[in-house]
Amino acid sequence: MKILVAIKRVIDPDNANKIRVTSAGDSIDAKGLEWKLNPFDEYALEAALRLTEDGKAPKKREGEVVVVTLGPKEAETQLRAALATGADRAIRIEASDDQLDGRLVAKALCSVALTEKPDLILLGKQAVDGDSNFVGQALAELLDFPMATFAATINEEQGAVLVSREVDGGLCTLRLRLPALVTVDLRIVAPNSVRSLKTAPEFKYNDGVRFAPLPAIMAAKKKPLDVKTLSDVTAGAQLQSRYFKFELPPARKAGIKVPDVATLVNKLATEAKVL
């Protein structure tokens, strides 16, 4: 199986409460914060690796995993890390975040997919900077691919994938005939969430994503990384969303500690009036 994985770097999500707004108020100031791979994209990559291997022989890729990002030169750090973890090739489309919106990202990825012809495209369900939750569904429509969003499990079948999706009130299972597109949710990296046809039914993965061993990090430097320009892949399409203002949320007023349950109930009844 050939899998295309779209990945994006984001400002360290565990320090998202430290972002500031620039004095002009029209963009985010993330000075001093690190860049990380979007966690959902990390999970999409892990799912791609699980689908292209026999779980007990993870060094051998059965098929191909290609990672693609739209981002500046510095985003090659995340691409190299993905190559070290097991991806075979990387593509970077030169762009800065302010040149992009979800619609342009989907158009660019569509163009890459038409060239690469993957059997499966994996994405995160959302990039945790913009929190848009848009690109996967839009890309599936542009390609006229069947899709399954918010995937909790993916099982490979002959020419298809069986996907369980996390939806309000439960799980929804879809079977997609390839080529298809899946966006992944958090629990896709649980021990039994993803299984290729090669992986034995009783095999259990470690919980979470795998890490690259040092020799793989060295070897990744030699793996192919192609760079394209944005105009190569968007055919002159223009931005249609203009983000012109950012504001920090109002601070919540400080609360108090209550000494015991009786005081709590009393406060809830008389002060907060919620009982």
Partner: protein, 326 residues
């Protein structure tokens, strides 16, 4: 006059209450644009019942597409009809439930339209719409203008109170199903497992009791009595869901459900950024945690530093006693 289209959500033949938040959003958009709104109902045989119900909310018309192929929701089958109905509209919107979040981006791409997801407010800037939406796990609110002919948006349920009935009921107009593309032929709906619960839905609940990793296997044993006493819905942190103590769709947070009840009781939850993103809009927050330094206490109106396994049963007894005393 321009038109705003609301896409209604119907599950197992009945209207999802979440739809009414998108109706409120649409009404605000109409006020800014001098527009009218239609509500589109798609579903299998029986969906007409939901359409009937929606006549009472001030729309110009309710559009109904009733077809056996729409019995189970699959985006590939729904999107062509929604996009067709959206042609010529100024705005298409739905509530950001798992249905709206799945479907509307696909519709937007079909219309080559710009998109604003999970909007928390709508502003009128001289007859132009400005969509305000949380980004970075709610740590920054962004304002965005969309310049495509049709704009597509999803609506954060907790920020828009469900619309109330008004005026005389509008007509229902049946529309035909638009042909689905190759994608629809390659997707097969296998099953949906809906967990039936006696408790209110998270999105609609006035009170939520939420449990974290610390509640362990006793999740329901500990929280159910408290939820019952308060008439509350039950939520959970990611850690509690991942560990299997609670079902996945109980998850509250940036990447789970976004809630803003009158009262949110966080039990054995540390208060990670991603969790806070989903509940900090709550009116009153209570935290029960053994660690006085837990970040949840920075947010809580009332913090109780106490072992949850003692505190929660004591709270249940106190509430019962209060009720008995009248």
């Amino acid at each position: 006059m321009s038109t705003v289209l609301v896409v209604a959500e119907v599950a197992q033949g009945s209207l999802k209450k979440a739809t009414l938040s998108a109706v409120t959003f649409a009404k605000q958009a109409c006020a800014a644009l001098g527009a009218q709104f239609n509500i589109l109902v798609l579903g299998g045989p029986g969906a007409g019942k939901a359409a009937e119900e929606l006549r009472a909310y001030g729309a110009a018309k309710v559009l109904l597409c009733e077809d056996p192929s729409l019995t189970d929701y699959v985006a590939e089958r729904f999107a062509p009809t929604v996009a067709e109905a959206a042609k010529g509209c100024a705005l298409v919107c739905a509530t950001a439930t798992s249905f709206g979040k799945d479907l509307l981006p696909r519709v937007a791409a079909r219309l080559d339209a710009a998109f604003a997801g999970d909007c928390s407010a709508l502003q009128d800037q001289g007859g132009k719409l400005v969509f305000k939406r949380p980004t970075y796990a709610g740590n920054a609110y962004a304002s965005v203008e969309l310049s495509s002919a049709v704009a597509v948006a999803t609506v954060r349920q907790s920020e828009f109170e469900g619309a109330a009935t008004q005026g005389t009921p509008c007509p229902v107009e049946s529309i035909t199903l638009s042909a689905a593309g190759a994608a629809a032929a390659r997707v097969e709906f296998v099953s949906i497992s809906q967990v039936k619960s006696e408790r209110p839905e998270l999105g609609d609940a006035r009170i939520i009791v939420s449990g974290g990793r610390a509640v362990k296997e006793k999740f329901f044993e500990v929280l159910e009595p408290l939820a019952a006493e308060l008439g509350a819905a039950i939520g959970a942190s990611r850690a509690a869901c991942d560990a299997g103590y609670a079902p996945g769709d109980y998850q509250v947070g940036q990447t789970g459900k976004i809630v803003a009840p009158d009262l949110y009781v966080a039990v054995g939850i540390s208060g990670a950024i991603q969790h806070i993103a989903g509940m900090k809009g709550s009116k009153t927050i209570v935290a029960i945690n053994t660690d006085p330094e837990a970040p949840i206490f920075q947010l809580a109106d009332y913090g109780l530093v106490m072992d949850l396994f003692t505190a929660v049963p004591a709270l249940v007894s106190a509430l019962k006693a209060r009720k008995a005393a009248g």
